[in-house]
Assembly symmetry: none
Homo-oligomer: 245 residues x 2
DNA sequence: CCTCTTATGTAACAGAATGCAACAAAATCG
DNA sequence: CGATTTTGTTGCATTCTGTTACATAAGAGG
């Protein structure tokens, strides 16, 4: 890979400055940011390999940001925080952080951990880096997020409705992770804000899942891709390759 | 979805015991080991997803082992050590560890970091790198962990329920090892986070075993594969071949 | 060999979760 | 607008899984 690009998110200018400077002195590209908006625009621009995310960000909450980012993207995130109690660390891991580093920290150690996270990412996904990811492959199927086109293993195009497409996207972003109906429902409405609170109260998700299964499962009666996790929800149970375009 | 298999490498039997037990109580399969030879044979058998590696292993050196493993394999490694100085941690990262945890540690936190590393691996895995241990054979039967498909010796497909599949996986991972009902129950809940503590209080496991026997034993009344260990629990009493795909 | 005790096997039941067809409401399109 | 497609709702069928009660089997001790 090229030079790693690291997004440093901290609301304290001194800390931001210290971190970015140190990282830059050690062969990385460090980009400063201080709000979720900035973070998003940087990530969306596809120029970030890893996020160093402070937990306490003025009026924003790093944990919340992490949780949201994790749902949509697969960018590695290292949380940084003065909150070092075990339960606080665990909370960080719980929202999907790849590592959790307590302040104050040894910059050298930070660097080592950054490298560890980056190296694992690289090691396990040789070519692929999810930047502006708009094309996926799984089980011989391919999905182009840009056009919403879905091709079967035999290269036949399959038409999905909008809702079905949205569901597929949510699943593709969280392969192997069981999602509750609530989580799915929340993430289905990509654009609009929250709908009714009782979202997914009904069986809408079940039915939607069934419909998607009918289109992408070889044998919908015995789903291998979109599996039920009884008592929990559903899992996208196959590996997903993310292709750049 | 497959149960993560964790190799616990420590030369102190108490510590090994504590760690494996705790990990097993939290939805993973933990395999103990204490020497590089053992580590290699386990890894080569393809049944390991992550290695927890103690740094000080009697006359062997965890750091060296880590370095060598890293050169050949891309298996995730978390180093565990009583050496907690920054330079010692950095040495761990330098030899390729994915994380470095200082003893004594909070088991919950260990678990969180294990999960973080595993999830990172999975998240960034592409089709090329899918885990290579998804097929087993025993007594003429075959089981594909990826699809959950079970084929009888006569190549007839047999449908197992989710719970039955999970049981079979636990057994396959521990052939010839008698498992108590508690151990089985603990390892059954792969996905769900917390489960009731009184798990296996009732006879649920017995019934489940009976159901699985009805499906995979030639003569369920005289089980040859899934045998009862009176006063103890159950054993998977035949050899298991692990096939790569 | 018999009896007593305990562990295991299992059929039957119950409650819950899920699948799904059919319908109805909403959205989209021309 | 009317036609068509999409999406949510509902009710019922099906599947799953733990519990219970009773039958059997395995030991232990005489």
């Amino acid at each position: 890979m090229a030079i790693p690009r690291i997004l440093v998110v901290d609301d304290d200018p001194d800390m931001r400055q210290m971190m970015t400077q140190f990282l830059r002195q050690h062969g990385t590209i460090a980009l400063p940011a201080s709000s979720e908006t900035e973070v998003r625009s940087q990530i969306d621009s596809g120029r970030v390999d890893l996020v160093l995310l402070d937990v306490m960000l003025g009026d924003e909450n790093g944990l919340e940001i992490c949780k949201r980012l994790r749902r949509e993207q697969s960018i590695p995130i290292i949380m940084v925080s003065a909150l070092s109690a075990d339960h606080q660390r665990m909370e960080g891991y719980a929202v999907g952080a790849d590592d959790y580093i307590a302040k104050p920290f040894n910059p050298e150690l930070l660097l080592a951990r950054v490298k560890a996270v980056l190296s694992r990412t690289r090691r396990s996904s040789s070519l692929v880096h999810r930047r502006n990811t708009n094309s996926f492959e799984f089980n011989g199927w391919s999905f182009d997020a840009k056009s919403g086109e879905v091709l079967s293993p035999t290269k036949v195009q399959v038409a999905l409705s909008r809702r079905e497409t949205a569901l597929l996207q949510v699943l593709l972003a969280n392969p192997h992770i069981p999602l509750t109906r609530e989580e799915i429902a929340e993430n289905l409405n990509v654009t609009g804000e929250s709908q009714r609170a009782d979202e997914a109260a009904g069986r809408a998700i079940d039915v939607l899942v069934g419909r998607l299964r009918n289109k992408i499962e070889a044998n919908p009666k015995n789903p291998q891709i979109l599996r039920t996790e009884r008592g929990v929800g559903y899992v996208f149970a196959v590996d997903v390759a993310v292709l750049e375009t």
